[in-house]
């Protein structure tokens, strides 16, 4: 089947009324989540995961994908108007976006971020369509050593790029890997670390863990914060950017889009890294870098394009290699696996309706977001005024229902509450959660690849260095770990960590 036929088939799936409806539900929820501070895309995707249990997998994934890229759109609104990033990837947008709002230019800032997001989102979908099928072909030739090395790379990169100290992120990855081993050993069928509990026979569920750490943990922490909701007192007008605005931001959009897509593909990368990298790049390319931070439209356009483009890129490793690039994709993978679909190189051939349906639904979702975001900004601003005292009980209720409906089992609710407390303590002590989630999902696959590789080599761990692709990847991992010990680079990392943690608070 030619590419055009596949795209047309995808559109026929995406335009089915039920898929269209859930695409709409996804992007509206995503925008809402992006607008509301204190609720990120990982938490909201896991909150809505139970909704997908009783849906067709294509419809469910269309909705979850909509939440992800919808959140990137919505996040910019709070960054610009309130100086509070709705989600982490919009942290950078605050810098120049809020300054523009203070200068009475909130309209063009919101406008360029919506158009930039649309352009970048569309580009990343086209690139995903072109890159994914050939990459899946190559991935078919990968053996257990290559898979093991890619997963090690993913976890190390996520730890390297995490917002907290790297060593803590690596520790979290270790904990996640252990949690992934609880339950039945898929190779021998025997159980381990279940302590006689039936709940643990199937392993520690992804849904209760994610909901506990990201949902309950976040709420418990927010209970002690006073979330400021002082919306900048300006009337949002002239949403369409002027000709001059377009001239000033066109190259920022191009650079942000391309950079974002490639950083999104990178295991461990994602929207947050893409937006920071794009801002740094724009500052470097600008003839007037001193104006950044004082209301430069390129400082809004670049990062917003980058974080949206990264969402498309992040689907590449999941749909082709079966390896999630970040925590959001790990939850997405969990959603597919709940429906009995194992993402990997054969996914495109086995489930063409799923792959092409989801990808083309993103086009439709992007158009919906453009329509939603510009005229409905007034409504989103009003949503910001919903008191947290009403919002957090609803989040807690949804988490509890989500954990219960997974297997109609009360024990999963207790698992979720325990991980809620763990998540809260992790936040207090600055342990990053995404490496734990990614490792929990990758754990069983990693173990299988490791044990198969050792069986293949007759017990020689050097097999990972005898396969060229695996060797290159592992050498890169070693280089990365070693570079984190170089004092100059370490100081730079610590400086970035400080900026991120300050802007998040």
């Amino acid at each position: 089947m030619s590419l055009l036929n596949q795209v047309l088939m995808g559109f026929s799936v995406a335009l089915e009324p039920i898929n269209l409806l859930f695409c709409f539900v996804g992007v509206v929820t995503g925008t809402l989540v992006g607008v509301l501070p204190g609720l990120g895309p990982v938490a909201s995707i896991s909150l809505l995961l139970p909704v997908t249990f009783h849906l067709n997998p294509v419809t469910g994934v269309i909705m979850l994908a909509g939440i992800y890229y919808g959140a990137m759109y919505g996040g910019s609104t709070t960054s610009i108007l309130v100086n509070i990033p709705g989600e982490a990837a919009s942290v950078v947008t605050c810098i120049d976006g809020y300054q523009m709002a203070r200068q009475g230019r909130a309209g063009p800032a919101l406008g360029i971020s919506a158009f930039g997001s649309f352009i970048a989102g569309t580009f990343s979908i086209v690139a995903l369509m072109l890159v994914a099928p050939p990459l899946a072909e190559i991935a078919l030739k990968f053996g257990p050593p290559e898979y093991f090395s890619i997963m090690v790379l993913g976890l190390t990169l996520l730890a390297y790029l995490s917002s907290g100290p790297m060593i803590k992120a690596l520790l979290m990855a270790g904990v996640g890997l252990f949690l992934g081993t609880i339950g039945v050993d898929t190779l021998t069928g025997s159980t381990r670390f279940t302590f006689g509990m039936i709940t643990l026979m199937d392993g520690v569920g992804l849904v209760p863990v994610v909901m506990g750490i990201f949902g309950i943990g976040e709420v418990l922490e927010n209970l002690e914060l006073k979330i400021a909701r002082d919306i900048y007192a300006t009337k949002v007008k002239n949403l369409l950017p002027s000709r001059q605005d377009w001239i000033e931001s066109k190259w920022a959009l191009v650079r942000g889009t391309i950079l974002g897509f490639f950083l999104g593909i990178l295991p461990g990368g994602g929207a947050l890294i893409a937006s920071f990298a794009s801002y740094a790049l724009e500052k470097k390319c600008s003839k007037t870098p001193e104006k950044f931070g004082k209301g430069m439209i390129a400082g809004v356009a670049g990062p917003e394009a980058a974080n949206n483009s990264a969402t498309g890129g992040a689907f590449v490793p999941l749909l082709t290699l079966g390896i999630p690039a970040n925590a959001v994709m790990a939850v997405m993978m969990g959603a597919l696996m709940i429906h009995g679909i194992q993402p990997g190189p054969t996914l495109i051939d086995q489930y063409p309706d799923l792959f092409w349906g989801v990808v083309t639904s993103m086009y439709i979702g992007n158009v919906l977001l453009l329509i939603l975001n510009l005229p409905l900004i007034g409504i989103w601003v009003r949503v910001l005024r919903v008191p947290y005292g009403i919002l957090f009980p609803l989040i807690m209720l949804f988490c509890l229902i989500g954990a219960y409906t997974m297997k109609n089992n009360v024990s999963d609710m207790f698992v979720m509450i325990i991980f809620g407390i763990v998540g809260y303590l992790m936040r207090k002590c600055k342990y990053d959660a995404p490496p734990l989630i990614l490792a929990l999902v990758l754990g069983p696959m990693m173990e299988e690849s490791l044990r198969k590789s050792l069986l293949m080599s007759g017990g020689s761990p050097f097999i990972f260095f005898q396969h060229p692709i695996s060797a290159v990847i592992l050498l890169f991992v070693i280089f990365m770990l070693a570079s984190s010990l170089i004092p100059g680079l370490r100081r730079k990392r610590e400086k970035i960590e400080k900026i991120v943690s300050e802007s998040e608070t």
Binding site: R192, L220, I401, I417, C429, P461
Partner: protein, 150 residues
């Protein structure tokens, strides 16, 4: 010295040590034929290594800045929230979804969210009924009915 790092890394070290000591019961095997306990044993060692590094880093941290991470914590609110969540889970199958959810939201909005009685009742009523309709009626999830039958 970062006390919370010292404490947390010591806890993680104990967890890692427990895993590494307990894993051989399942059979570690050999590099030739790794057994069921091989991966947990390895992860236990990894956790111990990283926890030790964090502990040493915190111990030799020369900065005089003391991070008071528990300074703004409202322990009463925190503990009460956890207890309410636990009570919800314990009572769900007895009281049924609607009543249990109504009570949960009412309590949280009124006492934790400091909303008025009117708003709390409205919020509790709407959210319990709407979520019941969404999950039970529309998505065909089986929510517990409890002793009252709904």
């Amino acid at each position: 010295m970062r006390r919370h790092d010292l404490l947390s890394s010591a806890i993680f070290f104990c967890v890692g040590l427990f895993i590494a000591v307990y894993a051989p019961r399942f059979g570690i095997g050999s590099l030739n034929t790794p057994g069921t306990g091989f991966m947990p044993f390895l992860t236990g060692l990894i956790i111990c290594c990283f926890a030790t590094t964090i502990f040493l880093q915190a111990l030799f941290d020369k900065s005089l800045k003391v991070e008071r991470i528990w300074a703004g914590v409202r322990f009463q609110k925190l503990i009460l929230s956890i207890l309410v969540l636990t009570a919800y889970a314990l009572l769900l199958e007895t009281l049924g979804f609607i009543i249990d959810s109504f009570l949960l939201i009412l309590f949280l909005t009124r006492y934790m969210g400091s909303q008025s009685w009117g708003k709390s009742f409205l919020c509790a009523g709407l959210s319990s009924i709407l979520s019941y309709l969404l999950f039970e009626t529309w998505l065909k999830a089986q929510l517990p009915r409890g002793i009252f039958g709904f």
